[in-house]
Amino acid sequence: MKIRPPISVNGALISAERIAAEAQHHPAPPRQPGVAWRAAAMALTMRELLLQEARRRGLAPAPVEVAPGLLETDEEALVRQLLEATIAPAEPDEAELRQVYERDPNRHRAPTLYEAAHILFPAPPGDAQARSAARQRAEAVLAILREEPHRFTEQARQHSACSSRDSGGLLGQVSAGDTVPEFEAALETLDEGRIGAEPVETRYGLHVIRLDARARGAVLPFETVAPRLRAAYEKAAWLRAARDFAAGLAREAELSGIDLEAA
């Protein structure tokens, strides 16, 4: 077994045993111990950097009750107080948000509405055999529908594993978020009034899809989109600030025994 040195964070040692305990190996499935080791080492280094910085700033732990009977430890309180005090993401101003919007207003549309029907041949994700069998069944049905598209309702009733089979596969109106992304992506590529030429694979299995109608959502005005843009900006700004904060702590620290750059 590879002998690893302890990590030193400004002189405070994190022993190899502690890193090994953090990267608890488990018997199966086969894993890459080096990856777990490094992730654990990075997390322990981060933890040490946070606690040292909280103490360097002279923060006094003020634990709060997170939930009834659930009190923070002093160290948890210190890290919370440190994050509250130091991670200050930039606030967006209106002009910046407007710039983001105007770069491509087409990205900000009301959800497109689809009217669609489908026939589901179920197969669990990762089960190659079931997927292949479902594909064969879907292709057999598609072969019939290519010749006789009017038999869609009958074929849905006969073959579909979705409860929509009782209404001939009709899903009614579907908009963004109503189904899974891969199904929506397929709806987007279909021509109105047509049955998709190939079965579509989703996490549920294979689908034969007919798109009956599509109503593209209108471009939304800036005022409607602004709260969403602001929220997205703030989240991204927090992430940047947190990364910068962590990187700053690491840059100013004397670190040994850990290679921050290794992939």
Binding site: P30, M46, L83, W238
Partner: protein, 170 residues
């Protein structure tokens, strides 16, 4: 891919650790998505109620079914679990961390939160999952050997979630 789990024995122990980690990170401003479970004891019942809080600002959903005073144990209301999945999915954009309080029976069958976990990993979002011993083999199979096991300590989770920035210092 950054996927981690914690598995703590003892009733409610995993939930308590996750709840503390979430409270810490939320107070620090981290944009979170996912669910934490709160098991509230009810004076008029010998059993527990299980509530899921959808992060960060979502509803609190009661996932246990009230089966009456004579009932034994807690029962999951599957339709509410599916509702939770949709609520989490709608709040995934821009989150810095997805917290899934439990990889349970539904997830072992490829349902429930599995789609959300897959979506988050697709977007390079770190994911931390609570797993009980019973479902651990199914979780490890799902993770394909790529999940890290975290110590059952809120600070370990917080430090793990924040450690990405360290690489920028190199």
């Amino acid at each position: 891919m950054k996927l981690a789990y914690l598995s703590v024995s003892g009733r409610g122990a995993t939930d308590a650790v996750l709840e503390k980690a979430v409270a810490l990170l939320e107070a620090g401003g981290m944009p979170l998505a996912g669910t934490v479970q709160t098991n509230s004891e009810r004076p008029d019942r010998s059993k527990c109620d299980m509530d899921l809080r959808v992060l960060p600002d979502g509803p609190v959903l009661r996932i246990s079914q009230d089966l009456g005073e004579e009932a034994r144990g807690c029962r999951l209301d599957g339709s509410v679990l599916e509702e939770a999945v949709m609520e989490v999915m709608h709040r995934l954009d821009g989150a810095a961390l997805l917290v899934v309080n439990k990889f349970g029976k539904q997830e072992a069958l490829g349902r429930g939160m599995v789609s959300v976990i897959a979506e988050a990993l697709d977007r390079d979002m770190p994911v931390v999952v609570g797993v009980n011993g019973l479902n651990l083999p199914d979780f490890l199979e799902f993770a394909g050997g790529l999940a890290e096991r975290l110590a059952p300590d809120p600070l370990a989770i917080a430090a793990w979630a924040l450690s990405d920035g360290l690489a920028d210092a190199a």
